[in-house]
């Protein structure tokens, strides 16, 4: 794995301005955070994912794109087994995170979900104060003193780029924040339990454009410490923010590769059609 400084040296001078180290990387040379093999998914009797296989590189941002209903959300929801809240949903196959198959019955779900954070399409502040929202996960997983929790909360809010905006009103209800702030709260809440992988399911779809760009800036910073998988409907966002991109169509993974390549020179005809807007 290359260090930040090394990556900068490798960039051709004309592309320094765009700062996209991912453009020229080959996913195969990077360690994989998540390795999916032959994943099939069913909603009751209806199959939604067909033989998905993919390796998500560690400490990079991987975008997942595709038209509505192509299975991109379904796919990442397998990583933290959140689909199991619904009786009729079923996943078959292998999903390895750091080498351990999380679909195996012996997986410790609580530990898995601490390791994998998830941000949803709508901001989901808990019905409590800003402080309690962030502290929620910490108190779940740790026995900590009041001051330790306070430090953690402050740290998480700083990493979530929200600290300056809320530092004076931590005891106010989180629902009083704006939509964009609420979503950053959710990100900070996820960060507070020290995950390694962060899954983002169209996190900006319910947010105004200004707030969206703040979140996109945040994602860039997150990449330094976490592996990020970002499902998005917005292709420009994928192109702006991600290092790698996976294109889904009707439950299949059609193509996966460096973002720059997918968007300028895709190998697959379907990918090209989608990118150029021939179907949505």
């Amino acid at each position: 794995m290359m260090a930040v400084e090394e990556r900068a040296l490798v960039q051709p001078p004309s592309e320094v301005a765009t700062q996209r180290p991912g453009e020229i990387e080959d996913a195969a040379t990077l360690p994989a955070k998540v390795t999916v093999r032959n994943l099939n998914f069913f909603y009751g009797g209806q199959q939604a994912l067909y033989d998905n296989s993919i390796s998500i590189p560690a400490l990079r941002v991987t975008a997942v794109i595709g038209p509505s209903g192509c299975g991109k959300s379904t796919h990442i929801r397998v990583y933290n087994r959140i689909f199991e809240l619904y009786r009729s949903h079923r996943a078959e196959g292998i999903v390895e995170i750091d080498g351990e198959n999380v679909l195996s019955p012996s997986t410790d779900l609580l530990k898995l979900r601490k390791k994998v954070g998830m941000i949803f399409q709508r901001p989901t502040p808990f019905p409590m104060s800003i402080f309690d929202n962030i502290a929620y996960g910490v108190k779940l997983h740790y026995r900590a003193s009041r001051s330790e929790i306070t430090d953690r909360v402050e740290d998480a809010l700083k990493r979530g780029a929200l600290w300056e905006e809320v530092r004076g009103k931590l005891s106010e209800p989180a629902t009083a924040l704006s939509g964009g702030q609420q979503q950053r709260l959710c990100i900070a809440r996820a960060i507070a339990v020290e995950p390694e992988l962060i899954l983002m399911d169209e996190p900006c779809s319910a947010i105004d454009p200004v707030a969206t760009s703040k979140i996109e800036d945040l994602i860039e910073i997150l990449r330094d410490s976490y592996t990020v998988v970002l499902v998005t409907h917005n292709m420009q966002q994928a192109a702006r923010v991600s290092d790698f991109t996976a294109f889904f169509y009707k439950g299949h993974i059609v193509e996966f590769g460096a973002t720059k390549k997918i968007f300028t020179n895709p190998e697959n005809r379907q990918t090209e059609d989608y990118i150029t807007g021939r179907f949505g």
Binding site: D108, L110, K111, V138, L140, H141, Y142, R143, A144, E148, R152
Partner: protein, 284 residues
């Protein structure tokens, strides 16, 4: 920071899951038990005579509760005729003119208070105004007490049902030049008709099983209800009196009456719930 034991957390979760099932079964078990006892103990009393004959003197076997059945039916009917129309009109006020009216807020609050007032106090109130001054118990007093119970319930359901009717319907009616009262009674009412009727039915079902309001108003009687101006036989007070008596024949009749009441109330309640849920689903 020390990590918290996941085993402990799981154990707490598992404990709750273990308690849950018997807790939920208590619900069905009690219902099943009550229904079972009512049916088993009461079915023996249900004979044709039960519906057609008068009670025999205490200790003597035979006879029936025809008068009480008729009395309950008549008083419930009278109470409905008395209470439902007022409730419907009041509900219209709350729904159609209500949203910005301060009177409406006060009325709503008071309606809640009235609904939360114990029914025995309603009975004592009606006793004070309709029994004491007149000097004797009467079916009218009984009907009035029941009507007082029906009124707030019908007001509430009417307001809820009318609020489900979309504003566009009102606007269309008014835009045609129809006067307010016509739009409300002719169009809105008709649109909410099923829900309104079931609201009334629900209130009636609830009220037909009430005992306390009749204890000091209609009292009870061993004779056929001739006029509402005298104490009127009814099922619920009969159950109370018979159950507390030492006569096993009377006790069995009390169970028979209980069975009759339970079946009617439950049937109406189930039907009404079906229709209301369906209405809310369709209007949503």
């Amino acid at each position: 920071m020390q990590p918290r034991s996941r085993t402990h957390r799981r154990a707490a979760d598992a404990t709750i899951r273990v308690i849950m099932v018997p807790a939920a079964l208590i619900g069905i078990a009690v219902l099943a038990w009550i229904l079972w006892e009512v049916i088993v103990r009461g079915v023996g009393a249900i004979t044709p005579a039960f519906f057609t004959e008068l009670p025999t003197p205490p200790g003597m076997e035979g006879g029936g509760l025809g008068n009480a059945i008729l009395g309950t039916a008549l008083m419930t009917l009278a109470a409905t005729v008395l209470g439902a129309p007022i409730g419907l009109l009041a509900g219209i006020f709350l729904a159609e003119f209500g949203p910005s009216s301060r009177i409406a807020t006060a009325v709503r609050f008071t309606t809640n208070l009235l609904m939360g007032t114990p029914s025995i106090i309603i009975g004592i109130f009606v006793y004070a105004i309709l029994v004491l001054p007149i000097g004797h118990f009467s079916g009218w007093a009984g009907a009035a007490a029941l009507a007082t119970l029906i009124l707030p319930v019908v007001m509430r359901t009417t307001e809820d049902m009318l609020n489900l009717v979309p504003d566009e319907l009102r606007e269309s009616g008014l835009a045609l030049g129809a006067p307010r009262w016509r739009v409300t009674l002719g169009i809105i009412f008709r649109a909410a008709k099923t829900g309104l009727v079931t609201g009334v039915l629900l209130a009636v079902a609830r009220v037909s099983g009430e005992t306390a309001p009749l204890l000091f108003t209609a009292l009870n009687s061993f004779y056929w209800p001739q006029s509402f101006g005298e104490p009127t036989a009814n099922l619920t007070v009969t159950i109370f009196n018979y159950a507390m008596s030492p006569y096993s024949d009377w006790q069995q009749k009390a169970w028979g009456a209980s069975l009759l009441i339970t079946v009617s109330v439950l049937v109406v309640a189930v039907l009404a719930r079906f229709v209301i849920k369906d209405r809310k689903g369709r209007a949503a």
